[in-house]
């Protein structure tokens, strides 16, 4: 096992390796690949925090909790709500910011503020040959050269191992409230969420729980504004609606998909066109589902080894196997895109040593 403490040591490890490496931040995301473990949690520490510029720079192994605590002291936050996978996957360890960005994991607020990748301003990484590369920076607008920052976000370490990230943070709102619509079936629920998101009332999360029969809409901001928008949404949507004032615990559970922690079987994340969600669910054969992102993200629970992709067939979107084995984790790509992807891998990691085979 390799545990570099600096970016230079990380570069040495990768340059000198003679076989595949299994890249880990805190090891909480259930990524299992063959290879010598390369743990980046030793490359840790916040190097810069400018609340007035809404930017944080941190080494990749920095615990997410450490960053959240530091920015919270200035009343700011990681607005994309990074998922903590520990409960769902039964893993232990400390999630790192490098892991969050490498996996591009975003919670319910993704529909209003964007994904993890939208908050990543700059990266430093070591490619598969041990070369240290930087891209982007720490300013919010930057079109200087190609955006390798986005490419590294969600590449799961297969193109390079992150050593440092610059992030945009946002102010924490004064308060929040959650509207709970009761008794809607899937189709009516997704339609209601679409109506809310198609309004000017700035919904920051939109989810539907078919088991509880609850359809949820979160509103955040200044107190006066939250109560105004809550009332407007109530009037817009009609029906039986209750309002919950402190809903942070509820949304943390949605973010981390804890509802499927204790069930046996595989867990999938299906990204789709929101309005197609109910039809996909109907033909999925899933044992349980939760709709997030107004229906654009569906968490599905299936029997172990069940071929969900075959059941879903062709649609605008893709399925990722988050918990389970025996099937590709990521949706196989079309030939044209697969050629580009393979070409990029061949240049960034010519020896194929970084999380080999993880993304195809």
């Amino acid at each position: 096992m390799h545990s570099p403490q600096t970016e230079a040591e990380l570069a040495d490890v990768i340059r000198d390796t003679t076989g595949p490496l299994a890249i880990q931040g805190g090891g909480t995301r259930g990524v299992a690949v063959a290879g010598d473990p390369l743990v980046t949690s030793g490359i840790s520490g916040i190097t810069l925090f400018e609340p007035g510029a809404m930017t944080v720079v941190a080494r990749a192994g920095t615990p997410v909790a450490e960053i959240e605590k530091a920015v919270a002291a200035e009343n700011q936050r990681l607005a994309f709500e990074p998922i903590d996978h520990r409960v769902l996957l039964g893993t232990t360890g400390e999630p790192t910011i490098g892991g969050v960005m490498a996996a591009n994991v975003s919670g319910p607020r993704r529909i209003s503020v964007g994904a993890a990748r939208d908050f990543l301003l700059g990266v430093r990484y070591v490619d598969g040959m041990g070369r240290i590369v930087k891209n982007g920076g720490r300013v919010m607008k930057n079109v200087t050269g190609y955006d390798l920052v986005k490419l590294m976000a969600g590449a799961h370490g297969t193109l390079g191992v992150l050593s440092e990230v610059s992030l945009k943070v946002l102010p924490k709102p004064e308060t929040e409230a959650t509207l709970i619509l009761h008794g809607l079936d899937d189709i009516a629920a997704i339609a209601a969420l679409a109506r809310a998101l198609g309004s000017p009332y700035e919904v920051s999360a939109a989810a539907h729980d078919p088991v509880a029969g609850e359809t949820l809409l979160r509103v955040e901001g200044f107190e006066q504004s939250v109560s105004y928008r809550t009332e407007q949404l109530r009037a817009l949507l009609g029906g039986e609606i209750s309002v919950e004032d402190d809903s942070t615990g509820r949304w943390a559970a949605w973010r981390d998909v804890t509802c499927f922690a204790d069930v046996d079987g595989d867990i999938w994340r299906v990204s789709c066109k929101p309005s197609e969600g109910p039809a996909l669910v109907a033909r999925s054969g899933a044992l349980g589902v939760r709709y997030d992102w107004a229906g654009g993200l569906i968490w599905m629970h299936t029997a172990t080894g069940y071929d969900l992709r075959a059941a879903l067939g062709s649609y605008d979107g893709h399925a990722t196997l988050v918990r389970g084995t025996g099937q590709p984790r990521f949706e196989p790509e079309d030939a044209g895109v697969a050629r580009i992807t393979a070409g990029l891998r061949a240049r960034f990691d010519p020896r194929g040593f970084l999380n080999a085979g993880l993304m195809g």
Binding site: G114, Y146, A191, P200, S225, D316, V337
Partner: protein, 482 residues
Amino acid sequence: MEMPIPNPEVLARKARVVERLSAVLPANAVIHDERETRAYECDALTAYRCPPMVAVLPATTKEVSDVLRICHEEGVPVVPRGSGTSLAGGALPTADCVILGVARMNDVLETDYDNRFIRVQTGRTNLSVTGAVEEDGFFYAPDPSSQLACAIAGNIAMNSGGAHCLKYGVTTNNLMGVKMVMMDGEIVDIGGAHLDAAGLDLLGLICGSEGQLGVVTEATLRILHKPEGARPVLMGFDDSEIAGACVTDIIKAGVLPVAIEFMDRPCIEATEAFAKAGYPMCEALLIVEVEGSDAEIDHQLDLIMEIARLHNPVELRQSKSAEESAAIWLGRKSAFGAMGQINDYMCLDGTIPVSSLPHVLRRIGELSEEYGLKVGNVFHAGDGNMHPLILFDANKPGDLELCEAMGADILRLCVEVGGCLTGEHGVGIEKRDLMHVQYAPADLEAQMAVKDIFDPQWLLNPAKVFPLDASDARRQMPIAAE
């Protein structure tokens, strides 16, 4: 500005290239007469001009694919062009190139309010995307100041921003999918109407690649419902440092305005003489705009004004109506035109950490004296995106070169304080040779490796983005292969 020497072998094949292109396009879509190709000799960086060998105006993705396949087979460089509004020379032709204009591809293909997206052909202008949905209360958020003219194709190529990106992000944050034609004619679809495209983030890579990786013919764009309203407050300060501190305090207070615009004294003076917006004569002026219902706006503006008062403003003017809002924005919106009345100008767009604002403004003032060229600063202060306008006289020999040298010094300064060369205009040819300032050779090599994969012969917009000396060996490849 150095451009590569046109490939004589390509020029010698012009007749054959025109013939082959004419076989796949309507007659009026292939422009090769030397008088007519002049229309494409430059973009909005008008200091540099070069008519292309041929210009084509395909109307479908299939036609774009045919054009690229032919050019690929013939080893002809292709320069994609949206509306030609690039300030960085992104659409500047080479004498041996085919300009591929997407202007005829401007249809709306699909509008979906339930899923909040619009799918358009990329020749459509930015403003007309909003135009297609605004009757139903929706809009497309990125709003570059050229939005009346600029095409979505160019917005994607340059990852365009705008005044409102503090809240809504830039093009890459609002782009959900593309249909793109590769240099060899292959058509690929990436992303779509779902939020997270699968696999590697190729969408993020393509956005901002300045037309060097492929020609995007269709785009799926996120649309949003318009806010109930928006109103600004105008504030004047005696010192730009204090204005900078005020910006920081507003952000720290947890208010997130949609726009924070900054103008300095030279710019205020020019604007007043031109547009008579009634701005206070002071060192620094801020326009801060917030959105929401009337009550929400009042509440936010009250908070902002409370913060401003702590910084002893010389003027504080809260808009109470649409007319007052228009009056406040009038000067800002005419700032570029006002500066243009005084002289020719070069507009830079380096971005800096907001905390460096006072230092950078002071240094720009010093550089202005050293070079003897006037500078006005107007910029998006919330995100540190500077827009220094350097005044020069294009008819005075040596003035353009002097202006460029001063511009380069300002951009070096931006990088020095932790910023970047360009926040929204792109590198193009303008900042190409400054890339060494921001990036080490390994950084540039990693970017150029990406181009190698998408366009192995470096035929697409080849002499842009990367310093010529860095990309030299790669651009020679097609000739060597002949």
